[in-house]
Symmetry: C2
Subunit: 634 residues, 2 copies
């Protein structure tokens, strides 16, 4: 398929996938309240015989899927939010921090990756103000970002919402408060209450605002990032675009090797979704990988470096407290979070409290000046089924709750990271404890994996846990790829991870009873029932794989209109028979239906009578021995 | 990998995969009570540095994974159960029914598939006796089949069971009664109560007995079968062997095209696991695909044909009653079960009650003479999220409960089929209704799929539902492959489906708190933590894929012993750091731990004090506007 086959690479190795998805049209819906708020969506058009309107779906792919957009990786995406940010009059441009050799791991020039060609002075808040969506929300201000997500969450589907309002909600939301229709005021209120966040650094104007909260659609994050061992900038930019094409709501750049700074710059300037990072990874590179040598000053410097670049949220492992570390000693897999283990090592080496904890208020001061959101890291999360829900994990979670309140006092947006590896019967309590101790701040979990026995399939072992915890209330699910625990994901793994998590998040939305979530399922089911193969492919989360699988069995074009499928063949098709059954049944009068009932009742009586006659006739033979044990006949 | 790369095919196109799995040894454990009961198991051997015993796992692969076994597809497998069956002295050989042209769909000679070379006279019960495991169980008899499954379920792990007995059960079993140790008497009692079945046709002596019940390990079924459109006998035999190699506990032959009889014979004679069928498929072929032309006589003849061949369980759609059919008229996807739609069409064409219902006792009389188990089909199961849990589905389920009691009176073993397509919040009630109306007969569900939007990934949309309903109490999960709804599964799809369902079933066993279920997870987690890569691969459900994924990133052999992984690189490895943390923490005295607590408490106090000072200082600025809305500070 041309539109997603890996495109030609340029002389620097850059290449990203562009173009509309099969059967789809990129549209923009303009807000009725703010005419510079144009929200991208995708419309899937159905076959005329369907006689149905196009199905509108949430679109994370940015300008790359817009045939009218000019994509130039060397220029970056248009700064969608520039005027909104500057229009608020509370920010200033300034001479940012100079890029230093250690920012790229002191790599030799011959290995140094190219800088991003365009340089812009960074913005920051004027005179100590908080320029965060939380500050505006608390001040009663509805920002364009809030209006954007309101239109986006509804897919501008007021009508569907009206229908939803008429019918009883079908779902179990475990105490969430999902409205029939998302208004900008509802968005503002949820943010003001700390129940949702919009991760939007003022220095990432390319970012199309999205919201993370229990009362909104469940979101997914895709991890990318090069490592000390392998992979290049071009690969990572390609993966970022590829991940958002298939539905990644945010992307975390977990790069750990050389060229971290330059890699991140290329990703940010070309990313239509929020970018998250784990700043301690880069800080560690700056001290040549020796955890003991980390200092607050180096970490602080790294935070500012990344704030100025435009990172939208930081994973910060401030809950890994000195007193908790020994609680992990008896674990099967100890501390598996990279950030967590680095901080644990630092704490023990110096026998001091975690400096991310002691300097937490200083961190808040920095983040509020750029509107970077906290993703409070679960550095002590379990790394195996055996370690799930232990005291180390929950002690840290309670600390993250304390820190949430401190961050909120500084008007900094917060979400909370969760596990990890958890068997099914221990998943729900994770959500309950998080709600209880973290004051309803959004939960952001990795999976969880529900068993450890399937390396190579951990996108699936974790999709089970992810769908469940998403249903229980987790706001964003961090994907796991088939390569988890084994290797670095390539673009095929990234797609497998994204599609798997999209279906898990959607299953959660259905179970929560999210209004209109079922529209796509129903449209696809009708297409399936009516043998509209093209519609069935196009409505799928992955149209190309669906088509490809169909064509492996029935390649002929004719079969895509044929009223039978490869499973049964032309003469033997349940769907076909069902249609006849339906036509017949539709013709029944109520009287005929009553007759049917009566007739079947008589049949049943007769059946039972025969049965008991049979019972008597054979009783002695069968039931004498049976008396030895309570049989079903008793 | 030589042992599972597709082997060379012979002149007739036959080829099956043989040999041990990586790092594994095929063993046989002889019963202490019956020395002709030798139970196959697989031992996964770990690296000497692990200093751990081999991990024993449940083995469904039959003689194919035994290097000592001579495999000859043309002879079939050795008749393991022959002496057990004939030793009971209640069966007789007789001249079976002649094979007729219609048995193979009246195919022209040039398309007729070869008959299986070896012919054996079939067995049947003497003078109307019931020769079923249920009849023996009720009579208080412990059969070799029961002893076999008792040893098999425990993996002969008395010691692990003792440990399990000592520690509190970690799991939620929703009222199941899973003992710490499975005795043959427990097996007998569960069968006598109808809570478990051992599907073992007396004419399938090659079948290694396995048990299906809520208080045993969760099982999985793999569907194979050719169709009117495509595929050959050799392919199907290969798929059967391939499916059991990776963990298929039973296999259903859903063939629908020509050569049904001969295809089934080759499969049965070479199958170490129970084979299930849907007899109405073949009956329909005998009337040239015209449902209205079906008669009880043709169906009865087909049942006997398949009983004599050795089919272990029949899906019979006796619950599709005339009075229920119109209840499906308003559905989005009507009737999607093939068998269900055939019977619905017949009922309406003749305006008569389903002949499978009216002749149910006659069917019992036939099945008890061969010990074929019922899999009471859910012909009215929902085919989409929109149709889940509707009255048509539950009306049929209640009927299946009535039929269960009738079958039990004839000493015929029964399991109940379940959906299908069900959103997460509607899954549990399916299990509850089934337990309530079907008297605890084992539940056997297809998935369920938890969303309809991901054709191409329905092994995953359904693994979510399968893991959940398995946890709730479903005894066997019918797999779904990536090709579901799109095409016929090839051998790669069969493997993907089997591995996906094995991990879902295992996740369910963990959540139920099945004793010793976690042994494999823990062994793998320790291997992961200690960088025993080979052990990690070998302990995986799919060692080859795990190894392959690892090698894609770090091909060098050296890396398989290196104490770091591709995600972090040598200097930056959380596992490595954690080991140091652990060594340190292990050295702490209790006093030191107390000091840590105190110190951290002081830190916390200080943090809070600073925070509230900050709060006062900035309060007026931040909180006046905030009063507009209830902020987290309130």
């Amino acid at each position: 398929m041309p539109d997603t086959a890996h495109p030609k690479t340029d002389s620097n190795g850059f290449s990203v996938t562009t173009g509309e998805l099969p059967g789809s049209k990129k549209i923009y819906v303009t807000s009725e309240r703010m005419d510079d708020v144009r929200v991208p969506m995708r419309e899937i058009h159905l076959h005329p015989t369907a006689n149905e309107p196009p199905v509108r779906v949430y679109d994370t792919s940015g300008p790359y899927s817009d045939p009218a957009a000019e994509i130039d990786i060397y220029k970056g995406l248009p700064p969608l939010r520039q005027n909104w940010v500057e229009g608020r009059g509370d920010v200033e441009r300034y001479t940012g921090r100079d890029i230093r050799p250690e920012d790229n791991g002191n790599v030799d020039d011959k290995y140094l990756a190219p800088e991003f060609p365009v340089k812009v002075q960074p913005l920051r808040a004027r005179d100590g103000k908080a320029v965060t969506q939380l500050a505006y929300a608390r001040a009663g201000i509805i920002t364009p970002e809030m209006e954007f997500v309101a239109v986006r969450e509804n897919l501008a589907r007021a009508q569907a919402a009206e229908e939803a309002a008429k019918t009883a909600r079908d779902g179990e939301d475990f105490g969430a408060e999902i409205p029939d229709f998302i208004t900008a005021e509802f968005v503002r209120d949820e943010i003001a209450r700390g129940r949702a966040i919009i991760p939007v650094n003022i220095n990432h104007p390319e970012n199309e605002p999205m919201i993370i909260g229990r009362n909104f659609l469940v979101k997914i994050n895709a991890n990318i990032g090069n490592s000390a061992v392998t992979s290049s900038i071009a690969e990572e930019v390609d993966k970022m675009v590829w991940a958002t094409r298939w539905g990644g709501d945010t992307v975390m750049d977990l790069s750990t090797g050389r060229n971290i700074h330059n890699t991140r710059e290329w990703i940010l300037r070309n990313s239509p979704v929020p970018i998250g990072t784990v700043p301690i990874y880069q800080a560690l590179e700056k001290v040549d990988g020796v955890a003991e040598d980390l200092t607050w000053e180096i970490y602080r410097d790294t935070l500012i470096e990344q704030c100025e670049q435009g990172v939208d949220y930081f994973t910060i492992h401030a809950g890994v407290r000195l007193a908790f570390i020994h609680l992990t000693a008896k674990r099967v897999t100890g501390i598996v979070s990279r950030g967590g283990s680095i901080m644990a090592k630092w704490c023990l080496a110096h026998h001091k409290e975690n400096f991310l904890y002691t300097h937490f208020e200083d961190i808040c001061e920095i983040m509020k000046a750029y509107d970077v959101s906290f993703s409070l890291g679960d550095g002590l999360r379990p790394g195996s089924i055996a370690d799930a829900n232990d005291e180390a994990q929950f002690a840290e979670l309670r600390t993250l709750g304390e820190l949430t309140k401190i961050a909120w006092k500084h008007d900094v947006q917060v979400m909370i990271e969760g596990p990890g590896h958890v068997p099914m019967h221990k998943i729900k309590v994770n959500m309950e404890e998080q709600l209880k101790h973290c004051h309803e701040a959004p939960f952001y979990t990795l999976g969880p994996l529900t068993t450890d026995v399937a390396p190579g399939y951990d996108h699936i072992t974790s999709a089970i846990g992810a769908a469940m915890i998403g249903w229980f209330g987790t706001a964003m699910l961090c994907y796991v790829t088939p390569k988890e625990h084994l290797g670095l994901p390539n673009r095929d793994d990234v797609k497998a991870g994204v599609i798997t998590y999209k279906l898990a998040a959607h299953a959660a939305d259905l179970a929560k009873g999210h209004p209109a979530a079922q529209i796509r399922d129903d449209a696809l089911s009708r297409a399936r029932f009516e043998f509209r193969w093209e519609d069935q492919f196009n409505l799928s989360l992955d149209p190309e794989t669906a088509r490809d699988f169909h064509d492996q069995t029935l390649p002929k074009e004719a079969h895509k209109v044929a009223h039978f499928c490869s499973m049964c063949g032309p003469k033997f098709c349940s769907m076909k028979i069902t249609q006849e059954v339906r036509d017949y049944a539709d013709g029944l009068t109520d009287n005929q239906k009553r007759d049917l009932e009566r007739m079947s009742e008589e049949e049943r009586e007769r059946g039972m009578a025969e049965m008991s006659a049979e019972f008597k006739k054979r009783g002695s033979e069968v039931y004498l021995p049976a008396e030895k044990t309570p049989g079903p006949a008793e």
